[in-house]
Symmetry: C2
Subunit: 372 residues, 2 copies
Amino acid sequence: MAERFTVTYFVRAADQAEAKARALDIALEQTVEIPRSVVPKGYVEDEILGRLEDMQNDPEGRAGYLATISYSEDDVGGDFLQFLNIVFGNSSIKPGLKVEDIGLSPGLLALCKGPRHGIAGLRARAGIGEEPLLMSAIKPVGLPTVALARLARDFALGGMHYVKDDHGLVDQKPAPFGERLKACVEAVGEANAKSGGRTSFVPNITGPATAIIERARQAQECGAGGVMLAPALAGYDVVRALAADPDFTLPIVSHPAFSGANVVSPDCGFSHRTFYGTLHRLMGADAVIYPNFGGRFGFTREECLSIAAACAVNMGGRKAIVPAPGGGMTVARVPEMRDAYGNDVMYLIGGALLQESRLTDACRRLVAAVHA
Amino acid sequence: MAERFTVTYFVRAADQAEAKARALDIALEQTVEIPRSVVPKGYVEDEILGRLEDMQNDPEGRAGYLATISYSEDDVGGDFLQFLNIVFGNSSIKPGLKVEDIGLSPGLLALCKGPRHGIAGLRARAGIGEEPLLMSAIKPVGLPTVALARLARDFALGGMHYVKDDHGLVDQKPAPFGERLKACVEAVGEANAKSGGRTSFVPNITGPATAIIERARQAQECGAGGVMLAPALAGYDVVRALAADPDFTLPIVSHPAFSGANVVSPDCGFSHRTFYGTLHRLMGADAVIYPNFGGRFGFTREECLSIAAACAVNMGGRKAIVPAPGGGMTVARVPEMRDAYGNDVMYLIGGALLQESRLTDACRRLVAAVHA
């Protein structure tokens, strides 16, 4: 028999009998997808069919139960997307089900080597110790390359460790991908030469399916210090493929664009910690961007801290990654964020800095506040 | 000035003033993602910034309004994922927003050539006129190749037009992708030779990011009659890339695995018609699988018919595609489905047929019922 991994689902139900029926339905739906009466005896029934391992009252007091189902590594077939499909493929379409937690197994850990760099690698590249990291973004879309490169330079002079593309920058005419990449890498390099800093430029490589891997290689050849992509748009196996590619060595930053429906409803999708924490770390993202509490989005402090915890919790020796909360952050909120996250965090602040008349000075004040 | 496309959002709000504030926030969030006060004058403000074009009371009586925002084709940059990012990238993370409809523009239609075959091409391949199509699936995962190929043969002998892999079949040991593909294409070919039918085998090519395109080519070379993949797992640009590839000529069937959170909550994601209809047709899927009303899932009859309508409505000359409702369908429900969908539908029935002792006979009864 192969090893089994587990998925714990919140199952909305009026009583335990209904919850059990729904849980047994998940076990069928996610594996054999045929009526229980015709599941073939032997290997399919004994190994492939999901197994209800545990039922609990919901500790959070929601109107339902927690059901833990185990699945065979044989069903995964060495395929990360099939792993996700087993976790929640068809059941994602049934309201009142939510993936709360995933219990990993040796075969899953062998399939998912996790991040190449993690938070330690991102700090080493930035030349800092166990302090918070800082990242900002050049924007908006529509500015010409020269203006974006000037922003990249100013962020670097101001002491940001990573300067990324806005996630809406792809290959638009005012700043085509290759031209922008080259100009920003050069601008950041000149700033580093002047300041003695070690800022990295991180282009957005989310793009046509046939171009993403090529843009990642181009970024590496051009001297970028990382790449960013949005898994919910580009596909959930692209980060894993890049992180496992022996010829690709840059850190990977994940952006949450288009992922919202997977977490914001209490009635479907994933818990915040599992989606932005566990899954992104398994994929091999080194930094995971998500909306911080108290900004323009609705995540709670507890949800954000659960993501940060999942980025660092023991996971079969996989490296810890860095939570990168953003979305309307300001310098004034640094003390509150420090109090919440401690040092193992990447401050992602963009728009607020761009409101300041002297960008480099504004960055320096931010860096000072973070390191205070 | 470039042409503009529009997105109509349902915006949950207590009153029109709140809805307008939220809508203006979407217009910023989805384009420039910086505070309104620092949006650069000229091209960025005049062209790139989203524009609130219309606000209406919600015709469905929900607690909110419909806001229509226009966006510039310049912002898309010829990139389908950036189009999706503009439509709902960051705003997907804000509860109480739902994409209701998308108003296309010439540049979007130029970017998205749509399906190569559509429902007419799928019928031509099956050798039928304007009748309903029938599709079934070989399963479960865990069966050896020989058993799956036998099922494919029996489905073909029974008169199903398309026989697809279960979406959980990838490259597992009991039935590796290449071996299964070859055996099923052969089994279906032998059945066709015997029956005079024209059944096509459709393998599931959802898989590692670095293997999907290769598996699509392998399917074509091996004589498959289509490919199936799950865009919500594999990424939303893969279907478009395949449909636009001059060297790839097979029909593409889309599977809804992992897409549920994008539609099931009333408080986030997309309307059913936009997600499974408009977007899949833009991508270039020829058939779109979704859960039928009255089966194991919770879609309503109206939601399902709105998908079917979006598959066929006039869309800048793009071919009509076929809705493929499935998920617990039975022969007994054929009259109800015929009443709902008419002839422009692909009946997807799998598990119910597998419960019958003589599969080929069960298929023939289904075909007779559909064509009655």
